[in-house]
Symmetry: C2
Subunit: 332 residues, 2 copies
Amino acid sequence: MCDAGAVSTANNDPAVPPDPRPVCVLGLGLIGGSVLRALRRAGRDAHGYNRSAGPVAEARADGFQVTDDLTTALTRAAAEDALIVLAVPMPAVDPVLAAIAEHAPDCALTDVVSVKAPVREAVRAHGLTDRFVGGHPMAGTAHSGWAAGDAAMFDEAVWVVAADDGADPDVWARVARLAADCRAVVVPAGSADHDEAAARISHLPHVLAETLAAVGAEDPLALTLAAGSFRDGTRVAGSAPELVRAMCEANGPALLGVLDQALELLTAARTQLAGPSGTGDGDLAALVAAGHAGHTAYTATERTPLTDLRLGEDGWLERLRTAGAEGRVWRG
Amino acid sequence: MCDAGAVSTANNDPAVPPDPRPVCVLGLGLIGGSVLRALRRAGRDAHGYNRSAGPVAEARADGFQVTDDLTTALTRAAAEDALIVLAVPMPAVDPVLAAIAEHAPDCALTDVVSVKAPVREAVRAHGLTDRFVGGHPMAGTAHSGWAAGDAAMFDEAVWVVAADDGADPDVWARVARLAADCRAVVVPAGSADHDEAAARISHLPHVLAETLAAVGAEDPLALTLAAGSFRDGTRVAGSAPELVRAMCEANGPALLGVLDQALELLTAARTQLAGPSGTGDGDLAALVAAGHAGHTAYTATERTPLTDLRLGEDGWLERLRTAGAEGRVWRG
């Protein structure tokens, strides 16, 4: 058992000295590059790796310790007992995990990939589960690459830290501290719960935005008349198609279940709107009531902290998952 | 035939003197109140009516000529040969039309209600079709009432002017000039075309936003994780439920057809995402391609003017409808 209170407080409390343990960030795109910058801002010892040389040169020019040689980065991480942050796209997860298993199998390991269960399964396949606690900062922009990174990317953003059975409390605390040092708000969640929640609030919005954009564009007059509700409802359909697909398809099983819920609601609303005549003289009472209640619940959402838990105590992971499922946050 | 070029130029051209013919605005809510203000800004002679005394007092305090007596307003409109602007909510349209038929049946008449075919049908029922050309300014805010009005509400906004068979070219020109004097961009459209387009870009966005908000709120963890895509995708679900219902249900038949198109796309996407296993190992290629193409078409939409048409010439209404269906605008 470790004292969570001693290790998970965000670095913006000047009374708390920086965690002296190093961090190794693998992948210097938008998220990885932002993590590296946020760690420097927090006074943390951090270094990085990227496969392509361009971002490495850019990061070096910005004064960061980075390499384009994965073995070099991992050998250093192993020697320093660094926390490794996997910040590569999903397709690159597997080969990078293979290298970690070879060069730094005992390092604490986390990730910042947008889907949790598939990463966890890949980690298991490489025998790295014991030292792994997944993560997902809910932040980003429409841009990508090192240059788009920002030390303030995670300020007040939610950072999910996975609370799956078998997690090591010391690794969990290090990952939560990493998120807190990036000034994020830690929300504990089981990987499956995370993926379903992400499907609801991140992937379903993309599916509906694509649908709205496609239906709207069937009619040039409609596009000419379009105002605020269409603009906001289709905004994310402007994202790069390959990125939208990669994100949504990586979470296919969870998205499928959530999409079915949406289809069920819409189909019922369609029947109610069709009305007695079947031609549209009905109403939308049930859908609008449910939607407005949902919007009200959303705007009323508060980040209630979970307290009185010590990481590693009996049932700590189940308690963390329960707290996260209630929308609570971990402040250490 | 009238010379459209002489009557439809917006008042922001200082070389064009204000149209001297008066306007009578019935209903001083958000839209009617904004029309009255915009007309004063344009140097037009305008007066107004509102059933409840509160807005009348507010408008008087702001220096406008307004009354809470409908007969008084209509008697004056008839004496002055004013253009009457029907700016009351859909449920109040019928009784106000009855009063117009009694006190000012020969006045040119337009409206600013968000749905066109039902208003046109009500106008027909009161025998006022000959002097009627419908309208719909595509503008608004989340607020309502006189105090929420704004002279600049329609600046650069689209204002649909109905181009239905039987329209009088002089009335059409007066309505287009009204819109132009409010600094709006005139888009001609058949009433049925307008209602279908509005379903696509205004009412379907509400239906999808309500659905997304309802599905998201099924899970407190999801609401805690929600970021930009959920916020934007649910924004209009925060509108007052009775207003959303009134707007969408008034356009029920058109919305039903557009909702069916959305359901067809979503159902096909669901099948493709389910994939060979049926559990979510498929893809979203078709939906994302269609949505991204739609968003691209939307952002590329330009307001190409229709020129070389004289209102009243042979086939002028059909030409206006065709131009509007192509997303073109009328500049007189």
